[in-house]
Symmetry: C2
Subunit: 295 residues, 2 copies
């Protein structure tokens, strides 16, 4: 087994290559739209969701080649959500991954269409003929991704987030928001990877618990970083949530208790995975990476 | 066989009922998002795409209950595109189907999320378990809808439309835009209906030709109506394309030649359908309805 960094870089570069293949070329009409789609997806990000898909797939013995499509689909949904999230009518953020956000680099109308078309492309990738030998399984993957992304998943979380600006949320309400806004897609990523292999109910259940815990931990760490890091390190505007009067784990719990919560969630994520031994190794490493990250 | 108006009203009301079932209730969190989704989808529109799905399905002997999901999915994609199209950064239109457009009734951020979540819901509907007995066919439907909606279909057409403002397009360029912007989804509607029945290559090919011709005819008639009708009749802002310096069939061809083109496209649409007799009756009636409409 290669070291974690080597594994991670391998997944990142194979995901980048697969995304590059799926995205229409910059010379294909409408050129500007395709250039903006590529700008928004390629060449950036830690590909946490792709890593989760591959780690989840490894738990169930899936071949990496099978997982690539699922990993790309989830990364495309994530990228679309960032493009729309950055738009002036939402978070109005000029910076993303250290570059001008899509609507700054191009324009608002293009950013709107980029997000729309990236979402579509995710479902196009996931419904491609012969992705899996089991079409019923593949349909279930489309269903899972749709449920995770829609109004009762990620998009719903965005709406709750918008509605919560300036409100005094308690920890339960904040958690409800994050379970939708980021948690649903993170959970989908891990499960979609597993669907590409031989997953049984027990593995799916362990993975479900893992992904929910890690999804929340990811957000807690995000809030901690937003408080502690500077804009250059983050590659996006730091301190923005506090400035926007948005509730965060740090504002609700304070810095120390937020850090403890991240550690507890990390430990909880791994609780059901010990039985899987080496097959869960990447999930264990990834949990550490996500909760100790400084990006 | 009931008369066309009776058939049409039957499809419209069963589609409305099915959409109502698929859309999350207005009391389900996030409430405002779900209310805005329902506002944007329910209670309006002629449901041309649902009619096409059912007429296409009838050609191939599909059961109406099977077609409902496909019809709803296409109507959801259409509704999402209207919501985003009306936003200030796109066409900036305050009126839709005689009511304030979504971003006027709610707000820009909500309209953005409404469009996003409606697109997702379309794929959720189409990938539902046990929609068809043939999962491979169902996957092909997801694939078809995705290709018709994405950057090489409807969303791409929007991009081409945006880029063409103030340009002197010729008829070929205008046609290229409309084939993407509206034609791709109209074609998908008819084919998705057929996929719900026993469709062979010949029927799909005839339907493909029909839908491409009717899709263009629909747009030509749209341009004629935009010139001739007033805002109250249209339920959307009339004369807007001309005011925005957007090329239309009327500005390129003149009113009379545009009307002749609509008639020619109508006749061409029906050319391959005669062999099907009564099974193609609804398609024939629908072609007449679409090209002679005054809405």
């Amino acid at each position: 087994m290669t070291d974690f960094t080597g594994w991670m870089q391998g997944i990142q570069s194979r995901t980048e290559a697969a995304l590059e293949q799926w995205l229409p070329g910059p010379q294909i009409a409408p050129e500007r739209l395709h250039q903006a789609m590529r700008y928004s997806v390629l060449g950036g990000g830690k590909r946490v969701r792709a890593l989760l898909a591959h780690a989840g797939g490894e738990l169930c013995g899936a071949q990496p080649e099978k997982i690539d499509a699922a990993a790309c689909a989830v990364e495309m949904i994530h990228a679309y959500s960032l493009v729309h999230d950055d738009m002036p009518c939402m978070d109005d953020d000029d910076l993303r991954r250290g570059k001008p956000s899509c609507h700054k680099q191009f324009d608002d109308a293009t950013a709107l269409l980029v997000g729309d078309a990236l979402q579509t492309l995710a479902f196009e990738v996931l419904s491609q003929p012969d992705l899996l030998a089991q079409p019923l399984r593949q349909l279930a993957m489309c269903q899972l991704l749709a449920q995770a992304s829609g109004s009762r998943g990620m998009a719903g979380g965005q709406a709750i987030d918008l509605a919560s600006v300036g409100l005094d949320l308690n920890q339960t309400e904040l958690e409800f928001m994050h379970i939708h806004k980021t948690g649903a897609l993170i959970r989908a990523a891990a499960l979609l990877g597993a669907y590409c292999g031989d997953c049984d109910e027990q593995a799916l259940s362990a993975l479900d618990h893992y992904a929910k815990s890690i999804g929340l931990a990811f957000q807690v760490v995000d809030d901690i970083l937003d408080t502690e890091a500077d804009t250059a390190t983050l590659g996006k505007t730091a301190g923005k949530d506090a400035a926007n009067n948005k509730p965060t784990y740090v504002t609700i719990l304070g810095l120390e208790r937020a850090k403890q919560l991240a550690r507890d969630l990390h430990d909880s994520a791994l609780a059901q995975l010990q039985v899987y031994g080496p097959r869960a190794e990447r999930l264990v490493q990834l949990a550490g990476f996500i909760t100790q990250r400084q990006f």
